[in-house]
Structure formats: structure tokens, C-alpha cells
Amino acid sequence: MDVQRGSRGGDRDEATMIASILAGETQLYHELIRPHERSVYMMALSYMKNEADAEDVAQEAFLKAFRALANFRAEAKFGTWLISITLNEARNRLRRKAAVPMESLDVPDDEPGAVSPALLRDWREVPSEALERGEVRSLIASAVEALPEIYRCVFVLRDMEEMSVNETAEALSLSVPAVKVRLHRARMMLQKQLAPQLRAVVPAEKKRRWFPW
């Protein structure tokens, strides 16, 4: 995992690299973006819902970031700036294609309390070996993709790409409390959907081999 949760490491290197790139050492851009390739692609995929479009959006976002690098402000994190460029690129494309109706960002329905998790007395452990099964991976992938946009983008950045709450808030231009509430709802929605599905596909005799708490 390239973006460590809450880590500030590498910022100085990034700032130095960006200065050098702007001074003409453009080849350094390849190194600058390597740690961010996955999170940019995942963000693009969570919007575009297919690999080809997601790859296109990711490439375009990296190109746009390069062209706009002089506008990057050092007080921001490069990674979160990249994500916001990716998000704009993905949304613009969806708008142009009009293939997917855009969900309004103004109806967050953010009250806590509104989500009640499934009651799962008998489901506690799913072995991580379950991920060797394509069936399990695709259940999880579909559940993440099916989250409403406002929850999905928060979940992708914070829980899948392991950005901090603050970085997620910055990348999505949201408040920290909004990120926390959406994250909680996303997690509860996923649990409610996935727990019964996983219980159905994961063999019972394997259930207690993982997480002995």
C-alpha cells in the first residue's frame, strides 16, 4: 500500500520533485506519480464502472495534473490534489456521455442513526483465503460499486486506499464530520449487504480460522 494511513512521510520529497519538474526536469514526473497510480485508478473506476474508461480517466488526470503542476499549492497534499483532478475528470466525462444519471451531491441524508446493521449472530469470521475465490472478490467489488456516490468515494479513499480522514475530506472538498458520517454509513451498508452473501459462499468449516477474537 503506497499511501499510508495518516502518514506525512514523503511530502518533502514530493515538494522537491515538483520544484525540479517545474524547473525543467520533466522526467521526474514519472517518479512523482508512481505512489499514486493505484488510488487515482480506483477513484476513476469507482465512477466509470468499467476498466477501459477508468484507465482513460486516470491517464487524462495524470496528464492534466502535469499541465497544471505550476498551480499546485504546497499546502495541499499532492495525492489529494490528484484525486480531486481525477474526480473532476470522471464527473465531466459522465456528464458528457450522459450515460449515467448524476446523483446530486446536495442530498446527503447524513443523519447518523439512519443505518441499522444486519443482525448477524452467527457470522463473525471470513477467512482472507476466501479472496482467492473470484466469486468472493466479485461480490465485494459489486457491493462497493453499488454504494451511492457520496458514500462510495469516501469509502474508496479512506478504507480501500487508506487515506486519512483529513486527506479524504481535502480530496473531496468535504468537512471532516461529513467524511466520518458518510464513512460510517458506507461501512454499515456494505456490512448489511455483504455479510449474508459472504456467509452463504464461505464454507462453514473455515469460519473460525481467522481473527480469533
Binding site: E37, F66, L120, R124, D159, M160, L194
Partner: protein, 88 residues
């Protein structure tokens, strides 16, 4: 202090992330020790996080990085005007 399960559910994310106040933390912890349902929900939520954070669930397409850097090399060469695209 006795709290309802429903109240605990609203704090599950905070509990997992360690962002609750000390008082909330104790309250939730005490409830979890006695409530099978809430501790099962907590474990389920934690498992979902572990599974979704696994890079195997969403993989980068084969050759993604190579194609990206090839395109960038072409672009950077053009924009900078001084460095020919490097063969990736």
C-alpha cells in the same frame, strides 16, 4: 451506564478508528463485553474493512502502469520540448 444497542451501532466506525472520546470508548467497550449481537456486528464490520482493503479485490488492469508511463513520456517530451520520449 446502560445504553441501547442502536446507540452502539452509531459508534462502531468511531470505535474501529479509535476516534471516540474516552467516555464513549468505555461505554461502548462495556456494552460490547455483554452484548453478543453488537460484538458480532463489530466483528463483521471489521472483517468487511479487512476484505475491502485487500488489493486483490480491485486489481489494476494488466499493463496499466506501462501504458500510463508510455503516454506520459510522449506527452512530457512534447511539452518540455527538450527531452525525447524515453522508451518505456
Amino acid at each position: 451506564m446502560v445504553i441501547e444497542c442502536k446507540h452502539v451501532w452509531n459508534h462502531i466506525s468511531g470505535y474501529l478508528d479509535g476516534t471516540l472520546t474516552a467516555e464513549e470508548q468505555v461505554m461502548i467497550q462495556t456494552h460490547l463485553e455483554h452484548c453478543e449481537i453488537c460484538s458480532a456486528i463489530l466483528d463483521s464490520a471489521r472483517n468487511i474493512l479487512v476484505l475491502t482493503a485487500d488489493d486483490r479485490v480491485f486489481e489494476l488492469p494488466v499493463g496499466f502502469s506501462e501504458r500510463l508511463h508510455a503516454r506520459l513520456a510522449a506527452e512530457l517530451g512534447t511539452v518540455a520540448g527538450d527531452t525525447p520520449p524515453s522508451p518505456m
